[in-house]
């Protein structure tokens, strides 16, 4: 029996914004099953660490490209292309504010990933002063955060790059309050990840400065056992660090290739390099459509798949007037339905042909 040919992959962006309490993806890598499904449907999924990182849990899939948020925004805008690699040479950047025992825990995770997973992890650099991470909440309730010493972060990143690192895992000491109501709500499955905003700032700063793949894991003391722990938060309580998923994700993260007038000729668009004009769909929570990658793609005419995935926000495509501005918006009540839309787009089907009524042309 002859098999039907498989349609070419449809490069698809999956965005689950960090720190807004998404019901699916707002916890410890709990959007990973959805990412695997969308990767199977599209054949090529570009997504960010918040989707893929489950602390000690991770999944490696050659169809999924692990791209930090700043780089993902620049990719969507056409400023960067993505070049798949066989492996990255990782560097580890440690915050000087990490206590010795916790630092040793992280170094042992690195050794474990070298010995057991065969990852190439080389230089370790410690910042020349504590980074001073602070956590905030914006007026919307979304988690944001900042650093007192961004200069120390960037200097350490430069040192790692000089030492030959092609991708950087950052571990910063985060403030902690084990008794806080916000943490209890998060562990109970009803809160916002209060660390996520500051984590994004750290990895964005470093990616922007060095233009290499970067991702972050917070250093925290282990928490007391919680018998009421929500399954979506459980991955973060399996071990003593959040680092394994970051190392695995970065180990095959695509290179970031500059495009545009100042880029070397032939840098993008050849030899399996992914470029923005290849993006065939964007999948994002229906009430969180106000991020840069989503809006950029909307304005480039890329179909937006708006998935029901409640969060703190209420920023829908309709509220932003995206369809009136010319965007194609496909509503999905679940990630399973989103996978159906992607399959339809990959097969070249008109989305309108799959709904009723189908009105006659006039």
């Amino acid at each position: 029996m002859a098999l039907a040919p498989v349609a070419a992959p449809l490069p698809t962006l999956m965005v689950v914004p960090t720190g807004i309490g998404c019901a699916l993806g707002g916890y410890a890598g709990d959007a990973l099953p959805a990412a695997r499904l969308l990767a199977a449907a599209s054949g090529c999924l570009i997504t960010h660490p918040n989707v893929m990182n489950g602390a000690a849990l991770y999944w490696s899939d050659g169809r999924i490209h692990y791209v930090e948020g700043w780089s993902l925004d620049r990719f969507a805008a056409g400023d960067l292309a993505l070049r798949p690699v066989r492996r990255q040479r990782l560097g580890l950047l440690l915050d000087a504010g990490i206590e010795e025992e916790l630092r040793l825990r992280h170094l042992q995770v690195v050794d474990g990933c070298r010995a057991t997973l065969g990852l190439e992890i080389g230089a370790v650099v410690t910042t020349d002063g504590p980074l001073g991470v602070n956590l905030r909440q914006g007026p919307s309730g979304a988690s944001w955060g900042s650093l007192e010493r961004p200069d120390a972060l960037l200097r350490a990143g430069e040192a790692l790059q000089r030492a030959g690192a092609t991708a950087i895992a950052v571990v910063a000491r985060f403030p902690e309050d084990p008794q806080s109501e916000a943490l209890a709500a998060y562990r109970g499955g009803a809160g916002v990840d209060g660390l996520a905003g500051a984590e994004a700032v750290i990895s964005h700063l470093l990616s922007r400065h060095l233009t290499i793949p970067c991702a972050h894991a917070p250093a925290l003391s282990p928490l007391q056992l919680n018998p009421e722990l929500d399954p979506r938060a459980a991955a973060e309580e399996l071990g003593t660090t959040f680092l394994p998923c970051v190392l695995v994700g970065l180990s095959r993260a695509p290179d970031l290739v500059a495009t545009g007038p100042s880029a070397p000729s032939g840098a993008a668009g050849a030899g399996g390099v992914l470029t923005a004009d290849q993006i065939g769909a964007v999948v994002a929570p229906a009430d969180a459509m106000g991020g840069e990658a989503v809006l950029t793609c909307a304005e480039r005419g890329v179909p937006l798949i708006a998935v029901h995935n409640p969060s703190l926000l209420n920023v829908s495509a309709a509220a932003l007037g995206l369809a009136e501005a010319g965007a194609t918006v496909l509503d999905a009540c679940s990630y399973a339905e989103a996978a159906g839309w992607i399959t339809a787009l990959r097969e070249g089907l008109s989305p309108a042909s799959l709904g009723r009524p189908l009105l006659p042309l006039r």
Binding site: V125, G138, W144, L154, G321
Partner: protein, 72 residues
């Protein structure tokens, strides 16, 4: 495996500021409107529209951002 850091580094940036601003949505593409609103306040590192209030004169958007600013 550790590398000692010198003091000669190139990184001499920057301070980070959290910013909240309001923007009235006008017709047409939204990104240029946001970029114009953020311009002059530093370089945006991370931003998102985090609220929309309907208004007959054009929806009011709330934007939250982390901006990179030169040293004070």
């Amino acid at each position: 495996m550790s590398t000692a850091l010198g003091l000669e580094s190139l990184a001499r940036l920057e301070r980070l500021e959290l910013l909240e601003l309001r923007l009235r949505r006008r017709s047409g593409p939204l990104l240029p409107q946001i970029r114009a609103a953020l311009a002059g306040r530093g370089q945006p590192l991370r931003w998102a529209i985090t609220g929309v209030e309907p208004d007959p004169a054009g929806a009011q958007l709330r934007i939250e951002a982390v901006m990179i600013r030169p040293p004070a």
